[in-house]
Structure formats: structure tokens, C-alpha cells
């Protein structure tokens, strides 16, 4: 486990970091930005990544802030998973993010790993992307030329592939205010404990009616993705009917909802031309099925939260 030779640079300011990235992109130098290092460094030790230079942005305090603006939250790219876990604005306002953080890696990784790093890495089996997708998050990207904002939906491209250009840096993720009805469920890979399948559901309820449902999944395709079909299907149900169906759980209501959700996932993947991920532990079709079960369970939990008074969990 010895990485190939590389140079190390430490950015003193955001402007300095962007200038360095710009110069490297112009010269065609292979520079990788080091944030928490929880994905990049293992890949370097396995020599799967062999950057010529590591640009460490760990000193850029301005990227560590978590700021609330009304119900909206602006999370600095260098905020660690642990920073999020300890922030009451996250745990109270975004329980689905809190769900994901409790099943994400281990305490050591959560202490070092960053939100921006996770998104920029583009791992198809990561816990946060589906949650942020379902929450309509936007990614702020800076370069020497200026700043732009892109929906996470458009930021994620494929396996380890994003909209980020060589001269750009993720600086923040913005999450708009969201309804209380949200949850994340995960079926962990037996070896890596990354999601074999994970699903986040956000459900909007007005009175007895379901007015909106967003479902996003991870672990089953080259990127986390959202499906919209269940909204149409679920909207035909009243809250009490859906609750009754979900309460039957795996014994009765499960298979029908699972099949509906799995069908929606398959259709979305087919439309995107996305091949399902597969390995020795789980085939593509099984991952799709698992994602459907996780989505149904997330739906049940989201619904119970939608009903609960603010601050109280099930």
C-alpha cells in the first residue's frame, strides 16, 4: 500500500487554490484536490489514482461553514459528516440527512470525510447523493472565471464522473427548506457497507392528500438518480390509504408497492440507458428490487414523520 510518487501543495486561500487549479488545467497537469481524503487516499495507495500533485484545501476555513437562510441551508464543501451530524439544524430540519449519516461509514471516516468531497468523487454507491437529490440540492462551483450553481441532478454524471471541470472546485451545497416527511433507508453491501441499494423519500402532505413525492436511489446505477413516477401513482391514494397499505408492511402491502417502485426504477434506468451495477454479492435486478424495498420503507418512515409534530420522531 504505497502510493506512487506525488507532489503536495497546500492552498492558503480559495483564490490561491483556484489559481493553482487554473494553471494546472492549462498546463495539463494532473492535480487532485484533497479534502477529507477518505476516498482519494485509499485509491492512491492502491495506485488506482496516481495524481502528480495533491492540492490540500484543508485550510480553507471559508468552505467549512454551515449557514441557515430561512429554511434553506448552505453547507460548505469542507463540512465533515460529523459537522453535519452535530448540527441541530440538520437533525431537526433534515431527518433524511441524519438517517444517512448514522449509516454512513464509521466514526473515523465521518470525522474526516466532507460533503463536497463526496459529491465531487461521484461514487455511484454513496449515501448522501440520493438524499440531497430528493431534497432538490444545488451545488455551488467556483473557478478562477467565477462561480456557478448547478442542480445536483445535473451535477452527477456517471461512475466517478461529475459536471466538475479540471479548473473547478465545489464550494458549497445548498438545500432548500423541505417538508418533515423525509427518510433514508439503506441495504448495506456486506463487505464495504456502502449501499447495495439506498433510497430517500420526501413526501408532501396537505390534509388528507399527498401532494408530492420525490424518490431518489443509490447503489444500483452508475449514478444516484431520481424517479418521478411514484408521485403520480401515489397521488391517487389518500394518506390514510397509503398508511394502511404501508402498515401491512412486508407481509401484505409490500410486494405490490415494491413491484410498482421497481418498475419505475427500471423504466428510469432504461430511459437513461443506464446499466445496473452488479457484483458477486448482488446482481443488477436484485439491486433494483432492493432499492424498491428501501424506497417503500423510506416512504413509510417519511409518512410517519410527516404526521408527527415538529421535532418528534416516530
Amino acid at each position: 500500500m504505497f502510493p506512487a510518487d506525488f507532489a503536495y501543495a497546500r492552498a492558503g486561500s480559495l483564490a490561491g487554490a483556484l489559481a493553482q487549479l487554473d494553471a494546472a488545467a492549462t498546463a495539463g497537469d494532473n492535480v487532485k484536490v484533497l479534502a477529507g481524503g477518505q476516498s482519494l487516499l485509499p485509491m492512491m495507495k492502491l495506485r488506482l489514482a496516481t495524481p502528480a500533485t495533491l492540492l490540500d484545501i484543508g485550510d480553507l476555513a471559508e468552505l467549512k461553514d454551515i449557514a441557515a437562510d430561512g429554511g434553506q441551508l448552505r453547507i460548505g464543501a469542507l463540512a465533515t459528516y460529523r459537522d453535519l451530524q452535530r448540527d441541530p439544524r440538520i437533525t431537526a430540519g433534515f431527518p433524511a440527512i441524519a438517517d444517512a449519516l448514522t449509516v454512513l461509514a464509521d466514526p473515523q471516516v465521518r470525522a474526516r470525510g466532507t460533503v463536497g468531497g463526496a459529491l465531487a468523487h461521484g461514487d455511484p454507491a454513496a449515501d448522501l447523493p440520493p438524499v440531497l437529490l430528493a431534497l432538490n440540492a444545488r451545488v455551488t462551483i467556483a473557478s478562477r472565471a467565477g462561480t456557478r450553481t448547478v442542480a445536483l441532478e445535473d451535477f452527477l454524471r456517471g461512475v466517478f464522473s461529475t459536471d466538475l471541470a479540471d479548473d473547478e472546485l465545489v464550494t458549497a451545497v445548498t438545500v432548500p427548506a423541505a417538508p418533515a416527511g423525509q427518510a433514508y433507508e439503506k441495504f448495506a453491501h456486506p463487505a464495504s457497507h456502502l449501499p447495495l441499494a439506498g433510497a430517500c423519500t420526501v413526501i408532501e402532505v396537505q390534509g388528507k392528500a399527498i401532494t408530492g413525492t420525490r424518490v431518489a436511489v443509490t447503489g444500483i446505477a452508475p449514478r444516484a438518480f431520481r424517479i418521478d413516477l411514484p408521485q403520480r401513482d401515489l397521488a391517487s391514494r389518500s394518506v390514510s390509504a397509503l398508511r394502511a397499505e404501508l402498515a401491512d408492511g412486508d407481509s401484505a402491502g409490500g410486494p405490490e408497492l415494491d413491484a410498482m417502485l421497481a418498475g419505475a426504477l427500471e423504466a428510469a434506468m432504461a430511459a437513461a440507458g443506464a446499466e445496473p451495477l452488479a457484483d458477486q454479492h448482488a446482481s443488477g435486478p436484485f439491486r433494483v428490487h432492493l432499492a424498491a424495498v428501501m424506497a417503500r420503507r423510506a416512504l413509510a418512515r417519511a409518512l410517519s414523520r410527516a404526521d408527527a409534530p415538529a421535532g418528534a420522531d416516530e
Partner: protein, 758 residues
């Protein structure tokens, strides 16, 4: 004896003060890891491995690597051939006429598995060695590969080695007694099943490694070759190195030091280690190599890899009358020393387990394939034999309509029938299988579990499953007369020394590697000599300071090492008595200027521990996920030296058995590439996979086979939990009519079976 003393070795190990091979450098040297470090510092090796499973080596070009920064030497097969080094030891105890191809230290001409060592780069630092290894240019002409034992034994399979009587089949051996066919003809019920005990990886916490250096010129009869080798067999390793390197054993000093887990995998010596030791001899400087985690999946021996097609004959009253069928055992690309023994001496003969079965006719087939060699792994044939038998017993229970516990009761060898000779020729020393089963059933409480089954189904929709398994575990083997450099029939040795100050040193040839021998043997000697435990120091693992021993494997150390220590302590007490010295022994030693005696175990007969395990699982029909709710373990290992150590063995072995049952598998694609070569892909059980409580209980029938009454028990958890867990999952799936699934019981396998049954 019998006291639950905490392990005296733990404070150092748990606070980072262990001395593993990577923690040490030769005396007077330092690692050559920095620029401008003094000449003579430790060099570091990197092993260039075959990236393909089967190929002819068209060319090996090491010029670029030899010229690279910091490189001191690059070795290939040609260098070893020129020095006459090799081949690797292997195939002990194989039948006459078996195919046992010479196992080269570095591949020559062909490569036989993805990961086989091809060249060794020695450089100033580990990083420089890794850099230079990328410059070793090997051209491979790929050949078709075969990785599973059934496929490798089939006609038309790609053949690895010339000269075999039947392609990749190393040997076929028939294990037969009684008239099995007649028993089957008469049987009221016949149950038959193909069952797999899949290939799995040992995954020790400390990977393998080696550090070697020379003092003087041992090849000229001056000085010695010093080898720091994390091994289970220091004396055996010295013997093997002596044969391979052409050095007399007294010119080789092997020190095991702290060993961070072995589970059988550090019993053999490996080609990469031999290449590193040869490099140290060649370049005259210390050379160290530490296996990387990913490398261990390619380079360390694997365990299991058998497919059994077995059939059990059962009379109308539930009596099991015969076993027949065939077991194909994968050996990997070459035979390690004990590969044949695990099949012929363990798996096959243990198929009847604790049951009165009078007829057997089973063919045991050893098969070579394009995979890393199979070695001993926690149980080495015992878990597989028990798994195959105990699955068949549960199938027989279903066929006869008898309760699984009742069927076992009707077939157990009775407590009054010992010593009992099995139809496979083993002599069981003692046991009370009924008592063990009854104790387990009482603790398990199957009546209460039926209430729980209904509650769980209503609460979560999960299916509860309850499974049991009973087993017999042979332990304490002493290899045959004169084997591996031992004195014929003398067994393992121990030297017990009482200094005039009263301090006691126990030096013993069985070499522990995490089991707690320092604690257990100190307790034993303290009891026998009548001295405080704190006064006893235990020494092992060093061919200079420990007397001869075969090492620690096969649950042998309490039996063999314990017996040697017992005899040495008796000899010390006798010596004191003969000199009319006053007891306690410390006073005698003070008057006599010290006391010392060396004794040998004298090859005590094997012991047969036993146990009954119960498992409770919850299966989620929506995902196929299996949760282990309870494991109830009842073990009978005779007289217990330290119940805390026994419990520790049970816990660890349960984790490993659970891993095989639920998640572990070394699998290959059609080209022979491993699908998992890291812990991100290879699934070992996590702490959260274990049941919240481990319910471990003991019953005791002392062994009459040794003076201590002890029985080896290091593998029991692995043997018992694997079939109990699979039986439990099959119980949960009973509503779907599913009777058998092969391990590992992954969520997808279970869910797919449920879907197919719906």
C-alpha cells in the same frame, strides 16, 4: 487450573507494544527507508505476481527494474534454479501415485494462478520496490483457466500439469467399511444432497510477512541465517528451509515473535517468503517483506473448496445405517503440505460424526485448479465433514418426520460406549453427546421460540428459523514418527526450569499465535508445581529457546504441549524428591541451585471434543436478509484449563463459521480472475453480524487419552455454528418448501429461492 484468568499477553498487544514482524529490524540496523541511510540497513521486497490465472511465460525482462532508483536486486526463477533453491514442500500423506507437481518458489515457464509469484524486487524502501516492480516486464501467453473442483475434474477441462493419471485429479481415494449398498437397499429413507463448502479466505488481522538476514556466512558453515517468520510452526519451518536452501538446520534460526492470527494459514511456508529469505542470503543484507491486504487474497492459502454429493440411508425408526457418495476437494494449483491430510484424515473420516453409523462408501477426490493453493483453515476438514453430515441429518429428519433433536438422540454413540471405534477407523476417547444436546436444548428453549416465531411474523414480517447441529472435533494430532524433523514417536517437548530464586520458566515446542498459551501454560505449570502463576514465564516460538515441537495447529497444543509440560513438571518434582529437597519446589530449587527437566509428550492419542449448537435466525422475505438472533453453544472439551480462553476460542470460531455460512466466498470469473481481492469486496462478518449475546456453555467428560484430561477445542465454534445456522435458515424457509441452499446464504440467494417457490 479451571480459573478464568485474564490473558497476560493482552496488555502489551492491546496497547501497541506487540512485536510483530513489521515492528522489528535486525539488531544494530535500521530500516533503509531514508535517503542516505547507512549501508547495511534493512531492504524491502515487493513480489511481482501473475495478473492472469493460467499462462505460458513468454519472457521476463527485469532490466528496467534492476536499473531503477534504489533497487538492489531483482530475482526470478532463473536465479533460484541456479542456486538450486526449491521446490516448495507439499503433499504430505498423499496416496501413492498421486499427482503432486513440483511447486516452484518463483514461477518458471508457466503461471498457474492469478497471484502466483513471478519475480521479487528488493530495494531500499517499500515504495521504491513497488515502483520498480511496475517496470518488470513479463509477457504472458494466456491459456484457458479452470477454478472450481468439479469443473477441473471434468473431462475436457484445461489441464494444469502434465503427468497426472487423470488430468487435474491428484488422486481418488475410497473410504469404505461395512456394506453400504446393502444398507441403502434396505433403507426406508434415502436422503441425497449436493452440498458445497465454498472456498474462503483466512483474513488474519496481521497479514503474512518475513524478515531475514545473515550473520557470518552460513553457507560456508559459519554463522547463521536469521529468520523472523510469523508462523505456527517454527521448527517445521526451519526444517523446510533447510531442505529448500540446502543449509543444515543448525545454521537456521527461526523466530515467530508475536503472530497476529493464523487460523491455519501461517502453518505452511510460502514461496514469496522463501524468495525473500533467499534474497537476504544473496545480497547479504536484511530483507523484509510484508504482505498487503489485497495481496493476501491472491497469495495466502484459502480454506475449504469442496463439493460433496452425499447420500444417507435411514431406517424406518430413524437409525442412520450408511453414508455413500463422492467429495471433490479443490487443492488449488499446487499441494500444500497438509492439503491431502485435511481431506483424507479429517473430512472423510469425520463424516459419521457422533453417530453410530456402521457402513460408509465415499470416494474422496483431490483436484488441482488455477487458484491459490488450499491450506488448513480453522478446522481443516472438520467443519466441512460436520457440515455435510449435519445437513443430511436435518434432511433425514424431514424425511422421517422426526424432530431433528430426536433423530440425533436415536443415533448418538452412547456415553457408555467409549472408547468407540468409528466405521472410518477413528477411536473416540470419551463423550456424552446426549448430555451436551440436552443442555443446549434446555438453554435454547424451542417451545418459547414457537411463541417468538408468531410474534416476529406479526411484528416485522420476518420468518423465524431455529436450527441445531451436533459435532465431534478431533484435536491434538501429533504428526507421524520422524515427521518434520521430530524424534520418532517422541512428540513435542517442554523444558521446565526452576531457578534458585524460585522463578519458573516453561519452554514449549507448541508455538502459540493468539490463543493465550502464555496464560494457559503458566496456569498449568503453576498448578502442577505449586507455585504462584506470576512466577511462571512461558517461552515458545523461537527455535533457540524453545525445545522441539510441531507447532500449534489442529487444536493440538493443550493436548501435546500440555502433556509435555505435565511430564516435565513431574520430572522436576521427582528430581526434588530424589535429592530429598524440601517442597515447595521453590525451596528445593534454592537448595539445589536450580531444577530443570525436559520431557516429551510421547505422541498422546487424539482427543475428540464434542458439542451441540443451536441457532435462531430471522429471515426478511422482502430482501432475503438473514439476521442471527441467537447462537447457543454447548461444548465438551474435557478438563478446562482456563474457561475464559475456551470462551474466547468459541466466540472467534463462531464469527468465522458465521462468516462462511452467511457472506464469505472467494469467487472467480471465467478467466480465473478473483472477484474479490480487498475487504471492500470480500465480506467478513462485522461485529454487528454477531448475535447480541453469545451463549456459551460447557459440559465435561474428561479425556482418558492424556494425563490432564483435556481435549483440543480450537475449531469447535466454526464446526458447530455453520450447519446450525444453515439448518436454522432452512427451518425459516420451510413454509416455501425450500430444503437446501448452498453457503454463503446471501440475501440475493435467499430472496431468489423464495421468489422461485412463490
Amino acid at each position: 487450573m479451571g480459573t478464568a484468568m485474564v490473558r497476560r499477553e493482552d496488555p502489551a498487544l492491546l496497547t501497541g507494544r506487540g512485536q510483530y514482524v513489521d515492528d522489528v529490524d535486525p539488531p544494530g540496523t535500521q530500516s533503509g527507508g531514508t535517503e542516505g541511510s547507512p549501508p547495511g540497513g534493512t531492504l524491502h521486497a515487493f513480489v511481482v505476481r501473475s495478473p492472469v490465472a493460467h499462462a505460458r511465460i513468454a519472457s521476463v525482462d527485469v532490466r528496467g527494474a534492476r536499473a531503477a532508483d534504489g533497487v538492489v536486486a531483482v530475482l526470478t526463477a532463473a536465479d533460484l534454479d541456479a542456486a538450486g533453491v526449491g521446490p516448495m514442500p507439499g503433499g504430505e500423506g498423499m496416496p501413492a501415485g498421486a499427482l503432486n507437481p513440483p511447486f516452484p518458489v518463483l514461477a518458471a515457464g508457466t503461471v498457474m494462478w492469478a497471484g502466483q509469484p513471478v519475480a521479487l524486487v528488493v530495494a531500499r524502501t517499500p515504495a521504491l520496490a513497488a515502483d520498480a516492480a511496475e517496470l518488470v516486464d513479463v509477457t504472458y501467453d494466456e491459456l484457458p483457466a479452470v477454478t472450481s473442483p468439479l469443473a477441473a475434474a471434468a473431462p475436457g477441462a484445461p489441464v494444469l500439469h502434465d503427468g497426472g493419471p487423470e488430468g487435474n485429479v491428484s488422486f481418488r481415494a475410497r473410504l469404505a467399511a461395512g456394506d453400504a449398498d446393502a444398507a441403502f437397499a434396505r433403507a426406508a429413507h434415502r436422503v441425497r444432497q449436493r452440498m458445497t463448502s465454498q472456498r474462503i479466505a483466512p483474513v488474519t488481522l496481521e497479514p503474512r510477512g518475513v524478515l531475514a538476514w545473515v550473520r557470518g556466512d552460513p553457507r560456508a558453515g559459519d554463522g547463521r541465517l536469521e529468520v523472523r517468520l510469523p508462523t505456527q510452526r517454527p521448527h517445521g519451518s526451519r526444517r523446510w528451509l533447510s531442505a529448500m536452501l540446502g543449509l543444515p538446520p543448525e545454521r537456521i534460526h527461526v523466530v515467530a515473535g508475536d503472530v497476529g492470527g493464523a487460523f491455519g494459514a501461517k502453518g505452511p511456508i510460502y514461496p514469496d517468503q522463501v524468495a525473500v529469505i533467499f534474497a537476504a542470503l544473496t545480497v547479504g543484507r536484511p530483507v523484509k517483506w510484508i504482505e498487503e491486504r489485497g495481496e493476501s487474497f491472491l497469495a495466502t492459502t484459502h480454506g475449504r473448496d469442496q463439493v460433496a454429493d452425499l447420500e444417507m440411508a435411514v431406517a424406518a425408526d430413524g437409525r442412520i445405517t450408511a453414508l455413500r457418495g463422492v467429495v471433490h476437494a479443490g487443492f488449488g494449483a499446487y499441494l500444500t503440505p497438509n492439503a491431502p491430510g485435511s481431506l483424507l484424515g479429517r473430512l472423510g473420516p469425520m463424516l459419521p460424526q457422533g453417530y453410530r453409523i456402521s457402513a460408509i462408501d465415499v470416494e474422496l477426490v483431490g483436484v488441482l485448479s488455477n487458484t491459490p493453493p488450499i491450506g488448513p483453515y480453522r478446522g481443516a476438514g472438520r467443519p466441512e465433514g460436520a457440515y455435510f453430515c449435519e445437513r443430511l441429518v436435518d434432511l433425514a429428519a424431514t424425511a422421517t418426520g422426526l424432530d431433528p433433536a430426536e433423530l440425533r438422540r436415536r443415533n448418538f454413540i452412547g456415553a457408555g460406549e467409549f472408547p468407540y471405534t468409528t466405521c472410518t477407523g477413528l477411536v473416540y476417547d470419551s463423550g456424552d453427546y446426549q448430555a451436551g444436546l440436552q443442555e443446549m436444548l434446555t438453554r435454547l428453549d424451542r417451545t418459547a421460540l414457537e411463541t417468538e416465531r408468531a410474534r416476529l411474523a406479526a411484528a416485522t414480517g420476518e420468518l423465524l428459523g431455529v436450527g441445531i447441529a451436533s459435532f465431534v472435533e478431533p484435536g491434538g494430532i501429533t504428526p507421524g514418527a520422524g515427521h518434520a524433523g521430530g524424534a520418532p514417536d517422541a512428540g513435542d517437548q517442554a523444558t521446565v526450569t526452576v531457578s534458585p530464586s524460585g522463578a519458573v520458566t516453561v519452554a514449549v515446542g507448541t508455538s502459540g499465535h493468539g490463543q493465550g498459551h502464555e496464560t494457559a501454560f503458566a496456569q498449568l505449570a503453576a498448578d502442577l508445581l505449586g507455585v504462584p502463576c506470576e512466577d511462571v514465564t512461558v517461552v515458545f516460538g523461537d527455535t533457540d529457546t524453545a525445545p522441539f515441537g510441531y507447532g500449534t495447529f489442529g487444536s493440538r497444543s493443550a493436548v501435546a504441549g500440555g502433556t509435555a509440560i505435565y511430564r516435565a513438571c513431574q520430572a522436576v518434582l521427582e528430581a526434588a524428591k530424589r535429592a530429598d529437597a524440601p517442597l515447595p519446589v521453590a525451596q528445593a530449587a534454592a537448595r539445589l541451585g536450580g531444577l530443570s527437566a525436559t520431557a516429551a509428550s510421547g505422541a498422546p492419542p487424539e482427543t475428540y471434543a464434542s458439542g451441540s449448537y443451536g441457532c435462531v435466525v430471522a429471515v426478511d422475505p422482502a430482501t432475503g436478509a438473514v439476521r442471527v438472533l441467537r447462537v447457543v453453544a454447548v461444548d465438551d472439551c474435557g478438563v478446562v484449563i482456563n474457561p475464559l480462553l475456551v470462551e474466547g476460542q468459541v466466540h472467534g470460531a463462531i464469527a468465522q463459521g458465521l462468516g462462511q455460512a452467511l457472506c464469505e466466498e472467494v469467487a472467480y470469473d471465467a478467466a480465473g480472475q478473483p472477484l474479490a481481492a480487498s475487504l471492500m469486496d470480500y465480506a467478513v462478518p462485522f461485529a454487528e453480524s454477531m448475535p447480541p449475546l453469545l451463549e456459551s456453555y460447557l459440559v465435561c467428560t474428561p479425556s482418558p487419552a492424556n494425563p490432564l484430561g483435556v481435549k483440543g477445542m480450537g475449531e469447535s465454534g466454526t464446526i458447530g455454528v455453520t450447519p446450525a445456522l444453515v439448518n436454522a435458515v432452512m427451518d425459516a424457509l420451510r413454509p416455501y418448501g425450500i430444503t437446501h441452499l448452498d453457503m454463503p446464504l446471501t440475501a440475493e440467494k435467499v430472496w431468489t429461492a423464495i421468489q422461485a417457490a412463490r
